[in-house]
């Protein structure tokens, strides 16, 4: 067998695969386009919210599922994105933001001024998290701090950020965060049509990021990432620096979370510390585990499924949700560690 044989075989297999697998993307695409006609504005808004979480989950799937970095602090990056966007929206109204007036701030803090520029706000929402993740990644991964240690550190960062945001009342709106946004550019956020447009924006962003991430996973870099996950120390002897590979991946996942946060704010209309602390960060990791951490589609699926489950159950049983979430999670970890995608795959091959 020679080079061309190897290639041809792979090509043939790929074509058959593509035909069989094309059906799912088409189905999902149809559903996404049909959604605004199938549900009322309230439900559509919920879906848009879950899709924002799905973007964060995609990043977790990349970092954790592919790269083995269990990040328990994605809320931090989500929050940086969300707060950047919220600051821009607040400044659009003109005058001092309402919460500053309430907490007795008289002049707009210098930190806030550049956020009046939407380009700056959006760039900060994405690049800020990437920068922070790069810094943290370099400091931590170069020292070969990994696994559970890394998880603990990211969690500590999430905890620290929440306390900081709550404490800086005049800058951040404290515990209540920021809410009451009216316009995004020229559109009224309260209008159904604006929300429908936002839904499509979120869906398209998610789709593009998903395709990009999938491309990345299939590239040499993606193989390298899996190799780093399964044997970081061995990878060094292949001439690569795992710290770089991990840092880049962590930064990408942070950028995704930041962008998700920036989209979340106009969709949901609020950003507050409670949305980005230890618990919400962990909840998304749980969602990824439930969906199936080793497949990017599993991460997205998990975020949407868990989002719906949470809404449905807390509507009906209020506190029962916590029992259910805990129990569900224990069950998934024990019985189906590869999540829903794992179950589907097993059913298909059986």
């Amino acid at each position: 067998m020679n080079k061309t044989d190897v290639m041809n075989k792979a090509d043939v297999m790929k074509k058959a695969d593509v035909m069989k697998k094309a059906i799912y993307p088409i189905l999902v695409g149809l559903l996404v386009v049909a959604a605004p006609f199938l549900m009322d504005a309230f439900r559509l808004n919920l879906l848009a919210k879950y899709l924002c979480f799905a973007i964060v989950a995609l990043g977790i799937g990349l970092a954790w599922g592919q790269g083995g970095m269990l990040t328990l602090g994605q809320g931090v990056f989500f929050g940086l994105g969300g707060y950047s966007m919220a600051m821009y929206l607040k400044l659009q109204e003109g005058g001092l933001p309402d919460f500053m007036v309430w907490s007795g701030v008289e002049k707009l803090p210098a930190l806030w001024t550049p956020f009046a520029n939407p380009v700056f706000a959006l760039a900060t929402a994405i690049l800020g998290p990437m920068l922070l993740a790069t810094l943290l990644g370099l400091l931590v991964f170069r020292q070969r701090v990994r696994g559970a240690y890394f998880a603990i550190l990211t969690q500590a960062l999430a905890a620290a950020l929440v306390i900081l945001l709550v404490g800086q009342q005049g800058l951040t709106g404290g515990t209540n965060g920021m809410t009451n946004f009216y316009d995004l550019f020229a559109w009224d956020l309260a209008e159904d049509s604006t929300q429908r447009g936002l839904y499509f924006v979120v869906a398209v962003v998610l789709a593009l990021l998903y395709l990009g991430a999938r491309q990345l996973v299939r590239s040499r870099y993606g193989r390298l990432l899996v190799a780093v996950r399964d044997g970081e120390d061995r990878v060094r002897f292949l001439g690569y620096d795992p710290a770089t590979v991990k840092t880049v991946t962590f930064a990408i996942s942070a950028g995704m979370a930041g962008l998700a946060g920036a989209l979340f704010v106009p969709v949901v209309g609020i950003i507050s510390p409670a949305l980005l602390g230890v618990v919400p960060s962990l909840e998304l990791v749980v969602a990824v585990a439930v969906g199936g951490r080793y497949a990017l589609a599993g991460a997205v699926l998990g975020a949407v499924v868990m989002g719906y489950a949470k809404t449905a159950f807390s509507e009906q049983f209020a506190d029962g949700w916590l029992y259910l979430q805990g129990a569900l999670f224990i069950l998934v970890m024990t019985l189906a560690p590869k999540g829903i995608m794992g179950v589907i795959k097993r059913a298909r091959t059986a």
Partner: protein, 283 residues
């Protein structure tokens, strides 16, 4: 200067609480590679034990040890032991357990915080040293000495150290590692129960009590080095003091960020914590 001195007992007693919590974690983490997020809820269970035994403060320390220890034992037997070698999965699993336990506490005792009345003999203090904080420090020291004696003097303790250093070798030399794991988990969780009772001396008790301390306690483990008694003691004291001084001298809201930055900076010099065992295996 006076502020510096005043802050000292506060920092040291925070360190003492962290130490009580981290003692258990460092052994379950060091020996079994288990990250037990439900450890915080064992603290909470200890605190509610004190709440349920009003006026019986000292006995409640003992009862809390056994209550939390039993909870740990059940968790280890039912769930964790199936997850050895998968630390990250255990982390998520035990987080699920922790959610359930918190909700259970909410249903049993109500969501609002409750106050446990401290015994009269702990009121007052000598100079700037309140008795309650002094007591917590004493409790932590006693626990460390107890654990140390257990590790070096008893048969079970020696087995525990053997398993911690080399599980496979210990197993082949006839040690029942399953039993050792059970006992480690029991003692580690029991210490969390004692920490919970101690916490009732400095604040109210609520269903999410554990979540306030668990993150810092894990930082102690990271900074101290796995399964290292002296590392845990030094790291707990260091983080406790840093916490209290950072809070005092900067903004309270900045303290945790400062502590976090300090831990990251520390890891640049000691990536594996204060004390480590050298090994060359490709993990």
């Amino acid at each position: 200067m006076e502020a510096f001195v005043n802050q000292l007992p506060i920092g040291l007693s925070i360190g003492a609480v962290l130490l009580l919590i981290a003692l258990g974690l460092t052994f379950t983490f060091g020996q079994m590679g288990v990250i037990n997020m439900a450890h915080g809820e064992f603290i909470m269970a200890g605190a509610y034990t004190a709440f349920l035994l009003p006026g019986l403060f000292v006995p409640s320390l003992v009862v809390a040890f056994f209550v939390a220890g039993a909870m740990g034992l059940v968790l280890e037997r039912l769930a964790i032991r199936h997850f050895y070698g998968r630390p990250l999965d255990t982390l998520l699993l035990t987080w699920g357990v922790s959610l359930v336990l918190q909700q259970l506490a909410r249903d049993l005792f109500g969501a609002p915080n409750v106050q446990v009345k401290a015994p009269d003999w702990l009121a007052g203090g000598i100079g700037i040293l309140p008795y309650n904080r002094l007591f917590i420090m004493g409790l932590a020291i006693a626990s460390v000495v107890g654990v140390w004696l257990y590790l070096v003097r008893t048969k079970h303790g020696r087995r525990m150290r053997a398993v911690m250093q080399n599980r496979r070798l210990a197993a082949t030399s006839g040690i029942d590692t399953g039993r050792v794991d059970m006992l480690t988990f029991f003692i580690g969780s029991g210490l969390a129960g004692i920490a919970g009772v101690a916490l009732t001396l400095v604040g109210p008790v609520g269903p999410s009590l554990g979540t306030y301390y668990i993150v810092d306690a894990f930082l102690v483990v990271v900074a101290g080095g796995l399964g290292q008694l002296r590392g845990a003691v030094l790291a707990a004291a260091g983080l406790g003091l840093l916490n209290s001084y950072a809070e005092f001298w900067s903004d309270a809201s900045l303290a945790k960020v400062i502590v976090f930055a300090a831990v990251i900076a520390f890891l640049q010099f000691r990536p594996q914590g204060l004390f480590t065992v050298r090994s060359r295996a490709l993990s």
